[in-house]
Amino acid sequence: MSSIVEQIENEIASFQAGAVKSNTGKIVSIADGVAKLEGLSGAMYNEMIDFGQGVYGIALNLEEDEVGCVILGDYSKLKEGDEASTTGKLLSVPVGMGLLGRVVDAIGNPIDGKGPINSTETYPVDQIAPGIIPRKSVDQPMQTGIMSIDSMIPIGRGQRELIIGDRSTGKTTIAIDTIINQAKINNQHRNEDGTFPEGFRPVYSIYVAVGQKNSNIARTIAVLEKAGAMEYTIIVSASAGDNPANQYIAPFAGASMGEFFMNNGMDALIVYDDLSKQAVAYRQISLILKRPSGREAYPGDVFYLHSRLLERSARVNEDNGNGSLTALPIIETQAGDVAAYIPTNVISITDGQVFLETDLFNQGIRPAVSVGLSVSRVGSAAQIKAIKKVAGKVKLQLAQFRELAAFAQFGSDLDAKTKAQLERGARVVELFKQKAFNPIPVEVQSSLIYAVQNGYFDAIDVAKIVAATSSLRDFLETRGAKVMDTIRAEKAISDATEAALKTSLAEWVAGFSA
């Protein structure tokens, strides 16, 4: 109680009397979350406009006699003729470590019922991305814990990797898996007092849910809580029921929260789930603001909307904070059409994409990563040696397998080499099947791929590979823990480690009976 009194006393002491100038305007029309105001002659672009009663808006259209303004939050109480005033501020959100473990709305207000957010710093929502000088190339891995991605489409810290696919192909699952894996790695290295050892860089995650059902968001939170990942995660929620302005601003708010980590020498991961819905919300705002529409009725600056957001993910050098912000934007396609407007835009902005296919998903290949269409443009520089050594050939092998498999359907007479390639390929496909929310540590991944590549799975029937993989994983994590620790520490498979791994694998093969 005394602290509140003190706070009020401080406020009174620092309070400036004297006249305060503000620029005002009147609402001429208000509809669908967009208000047109007369007056506000001093309003600046993107400035916060105060409508009173705790309702704020952003000035988006500055016209000759009018100002077009999107309203954040509940606008049902506002009416024509109401007065609004400029604030001289850009929209800002709270940032900092205090947000970890919290669920906030698009403007940073807590919505998880856990009380106020412990944060003193705020960042403007729309910031200019780091330029050329502060940047550094991507060379640290961001392990997703998903074998097919870490081996074939590796992601580095500071990269922007798009996750794209039709509805219900497992896009969100990949993102959640990645968040869980970061938490697992953090927990693995954390000292008992909660600090991290020198040289270890923990990854904090931000999950931005745009235009999703509240039930889906609740489920995601439950999964993260169950996996113990919430303490490293911030959730920014602008659900389908929120007004379009909140859905438009939420990814930018999330990016600001991520930039705090990047600017302060930490690594962060941000998931935008999903940007197609943000584009739709922005389209709605733009159409109501009567901005000219272009292809698919999106406004002309929809490319800039996504490019300025994704450019904020970067790896910066030592002089500029030495942190990174990795982005995993998600785009939902319609019937696998990657040539639609928004998908092509975001594909061209990002440093690669993970393409998920409905057919693969229905065949039971989950995660349904399409090897042919997925690519990572910068991530291979960030792969650790252990994975590089074993996974170098996998992509080619799988591509050859798909081609041969199509060909082999027509004839049964195949030479021994082709047969061997088909057998190996089928095993690799089975190996990459992985349960949801079950990330695999990178050292186990490399050992599993090593086992397939070196014929340890050849004697096992293809139908039993999934069971064999899980058995081998259990084996490696228990009896082979020593070898795993060595690989994790050395980040490579040296000759001595390889020999030890071979012994372990031989031991497992001898004991495995499917």
Partner: protein
Amino acid sequence: MKRDQKITRLAKKLVELSKDNGVVTEAKVGEVLAGLKQVQHRHHLTVLKTFLNYLRREIALQTAVVSTPAALSDEALKAIEATYSKMYGRPVTAVTKQDTSLIAGVRVRVGDDVYDASVAGRLQRLAENVK
């Protein structure tokens, strides 16, 4: 009301014509209206409405609406007029308005700009800061 650029431009020119030494005067406005009547524009009514709209805005820029809970002395009004005329670089006339909700102090509005030095406004800002 549909915004027609030509009519907007015309209305703005008419406002300029209604000024004498940078100040809108009754006589000049009367001249402009008489002229308009003679010309008989095709969209006479729209032109008039737009003209009225811009004229109101122009007058608001030249008027300082001084809201106070109690009446102000003539000297104080003169001082306010002088201050704002200097600040805006154009003659500003003060008009008083009684507003008891301000509790005490004064609030001045010139065009879109509001200068608040009232107790009610201070209390409101304090409440926002403490929250």
